[in-house]
């Protein structure tokens, strides 16, 4: 199918294009961008008064396949991602079994191809079985199609093993993403502080995150290599990362919408959908995350989309699993909480959600709308206000604390590899 997007206000790092452009898409790539492309035998999308963005890239999600298909599958996850405007998603390895061998990577890529909606890139495990004992065959994982490795769900807590993992990742030129959490603090269920005291819930101190951030900065400096920090949530971590960047250490970091949209106060409802790792923090932390996104200390926004069924979540707060879904609210939250508050310009938003994630993960043909780039494009209505309703959720799981929330900015069309994979009804 050949697609022509007419009157496109294209958003790039520089901002919104001065004049509307027409974009011609053929054979999965952007063939031409110019001020006037005559209509032909194309599928035409009129983007007048809309914004046209590169497809969003999520470096961090959980698709639960293989092994927990009752929560999500590659297919339902892809549909949810497409609805949220994501055209490339990196799925974390804490599946059952974990993504720790080429065989499992190949299985995921085969099923992703069959589903054929968005680009799914498996993240391999750092250690076999994610047990934190022995390294996986990192070269083999890369050859099979992993662009990153992580033991997400937990950190690589043994410093010596982490050192070797980073050395291997450097050799293999693969990104290592660290879930920053000191496991010895992990008996809690929410952020430690006045709020956890009031609610009588066990707290996790925020240093649980920054201790690992600090250690890993030291490792990255010592080994002269790079490291990526997943779902950063505390003000102290932001400070440490800012300091490391100022010293030229090769660190990058991401933050999730719930960590710039919610505080620990939402736990007062005892809604288990507010239970997440790292836990929701204070307003000061939320402000620091926003500042980090604004000044570039935090490089990108990821969802940490983590589906769980309602049966699993309808437990006592301290027994419920952690995580919330995120694909379908990420863009609306980013617009509502960051663009509307003038924290980010549209250009910066596109950097945080497409351009930089592409750079960090080495996806050279993605992240921007330009000739010969992959035709991963979304059309959004920046001014549309909408309510996130439970019965509209496409993900197989509905565990979101944002249900009922009014958001601004709606993804109307998602094009991935030159194919329309989602269109608003």
């Amino acid at each position: 199918m050949v697609i022509l997007i007419k009157n496109a206000n294209i958003v790039s790092a520089k901002g919104i294009s001065k004049e509307p452009q027409d974009i011609l898409i053929e054979k999965g790539v952007i063939k031409e961008i110019s001020s006037k492309i005559p209509c032909g035998d194309y599928k035409v999308i009129d983007a007048k008064d809309k914004l046209v963005l590169p497809g969003l890239i999520d470096l961090h999600c959980h698709l639960r396949e293989p092994g927990q298909e009752h929560k999500e599958t590659l297919e339902t996850g892809s549909k949810s991602a497409a609805k949220g405007g994501f055209t490339t998603i990196f799925c974390m390895p804490n599946t059952k079994p974990p993504i720790d061998s080429a065989k499992i990577v190949e299985g995921i890529l085969k099923e992703a191809k069959r589903v054929g909606l968005v680009n799914i890139i498996p993240v391999g495990a750092v250690t076999k079985g994610q047990k934190g004992q022995e390294l996986t065959d990192i070269f083999e994982l890369k050859e099979a199609g992993c662009l990153a490795i992580s033991d997400d769900g937990k950190s690589v807590s043994n410093s010596q093993l982490m050192r070797h993992a980073l050395e291997y990742a450097k050799m293999a030129d693969i990104l290592l993403m660290e879930h920053c959490e000191d496991p010895t603090f992990s008996h809690g269920v929410m952020n430690e502080g006045a709020c956890s005291t009031l609610l009588g819930l066990k707290g996790i101190p925020d240093i649980s995150e920054s201790i690992i951030v600090g250690r890993d900065i030291e490792l990255a400096k010592y080994l002269q290599t790079r490291i990526h920090f997943s779902h950063i949530s505390s003000a102290r971590s932001v400070d440490l990362i800012r300091g490391a960047k100022a010293q030229g250490i090769g660190v990058t970091a991401e933050a999730c919408p719930h960590h710039f949209s919610l505080t620990e106060k939402s736990v007062e409802s005892f809604d288990t959908n507010t239970k997440v790792h790292p836990p929701l923090k204070t307003q000061a932390d939320v402000d620091a995350i926003k500042q980090g996104l604004k000044d570039g200390t935090i490089d990108c926004i990821t969802t940490d989309h983590a589906p769980h069924t309602s049966e699993e979540k309808e437990l006592e707060f301290d027994r419920a699993p952690v995580g919330m879904i995120g694909f379908e609210t990420a863009f609306g939250l980013a617009v509502s909480e960051l663009v509307e508050t003038k924290t980010l310009t549209w250009g910066k938003l596109v950097e945080r959600m497409a351009i930089t994630p592409a750079k960090i993960s080495g996806l050279a043909s993605k992240g921007e709308i330009a000739q010969d780039k992959d035709a991963d494009i979304i059309v959004v209505d920046p001014n549309k206000e909408w309510i996130f309703e439970k019965d509209q959720i496409v993900s197989k799981s509905k565990n979101s604390p944002f249900i009922g929330r009014t958001l601004k900015g709606l993804v109307e069309t998602t094009i991935c590899a030159g194919k329309i994979v989602y269109q608003v009804k």
Binding site: A194, T197, G200, L201, F270, E311, E314, L315, D318
Partner: protein
């Protein structure tokens, strides 16, 4: 009904000072019932009160059960751990089943914080929190305040020390909330490992030195120290804890002569309190137990007297 309009009792933070006063006043009149030859009034005849306990508890459950029975309500005990949670049924399912049998009030004890609130949000019958996790134990704090008022005549302006494992104590949390609301000056005393983060925000002082509170407190409220805290590394040893935070006859000499010594029970004799102090003339521990029935009668009476939630 004194303008009472609440159908649940989850946490003292949901009550005004006036509400607390109403409960304490009502309890005063109910206390007499338990001293009669025929210990029963018909106030709640035809009402059904279910005790849904997922944690072993003898005194709180017995206290609620007696309170309900003395008001002529029908009572039923459901011990959750013994029945369905092991089969994978959620506590909410369990409570919904009980609701479907048309009960009027569910008294809930659960080891997870927040469960009574979740049940109250989902169900029609009234919910009384009989202790949830480390969060709240409102009727314990009410009976403590009742006892203080009975002993000293007032709460406002009193200096109350709560001593021991504050971190894991729902009794401490509810007392902090209730006592500060009633105008008492509350100081927490315990090892820093057992003082919860940010608790000063609730208007209390914190000290790690027992001597600081011994001298001028009107009330010393000692909490039970679970011996497991040593294995959990909150304490170097129980022996050391006793030395620094245990109350014995010798240390009591520093205190006001008429200081009131309280404990929510069960007492770990020889740890937080020496046997002499627990049984001594300043101790009101058994009076607390007696008053517990009266206070729970008042709570059941007021809450069930309120028709709509």
């Amino acid at each position: 009904m004194s303008g009472w309009n609440k159908g649940d009792l989850l946490d003292l933070k949901d009550l005004t000072r006036k509400d607390i006063e109403t409960i304490l006043e009502t309890a005063k009149s109910f206390k007499e019932v338990s001293t009669r030859d025929v210990k029963k009034v018909p106030a709640l005849r035809g009402k059904t009160v279910v005790m849904l306990f997922s944690e072993p508890s003898t005194r709180t459950r017995v206290s609620f059960e007696l309170a309900a029975k003395r008001l002529s309500a029908d009572t039923l005990n459901v011990s959750v751990s013994a029945s369905s949670l092991s089969k994978g049924e959620s506590i909410l399912d369990m409570a919904k089943n009980i609701e479907a049998m048309h009960v009027d009030m569910i008294v809930v004890r659960h080891k997870s914080s927040g469960v009574p609130k979740v049940l109250a949000d989902a169900l029609t019958p009234g919910i009384i929190n009989a202790g949830d996790g480390c969060r709240a134990h409102p009727t314990q704090a009410l009976l403590d305040m009742f006892t203080i008022k009975e002993k000293i005549g007032k709460i406002e302006g009193l200096k109350v020390a709560i001593i021991g494992d504050i971190l894991h104590s729902r009794v401490a949390r509810s007392n902090i909330c209730g006592l500060t609301k009633m105008g008492a000056k509350v100081t927490l005393c315990g090892p820093s490992t057992l003082i919860p983060a940010g608790v000063e925000d609730q208007g209390v002082k914190v000290t790690h030195n027992l001597d600081d509170v011994l001298k001028d407190s009107d009330v010393l409220m000692c909490l039970r120290l679970q011996k497991e805290r040593q294995q959990e590394k909150y304490l170097p040893s129980v022996r050391e804890y006793v030395k620094h935070f245990g109350l014995n006859k010798e240390k009591l000499k520093m205190a006001k002569k008429d200081v009131v010594i309280m404990h929510p029970g069960p007492v770990n004799r020889g740890i937080e309190l020496s046997a002499e102090v627990a049984d001594g003339e300043n101790s009101v521990i058994l009076e607390q137990v007696t008053n517990g029935v009266a206070v729970r009668m008042a709570v059941l009476y007021l809450l069930l007297g309120k028709k709509e939630k």
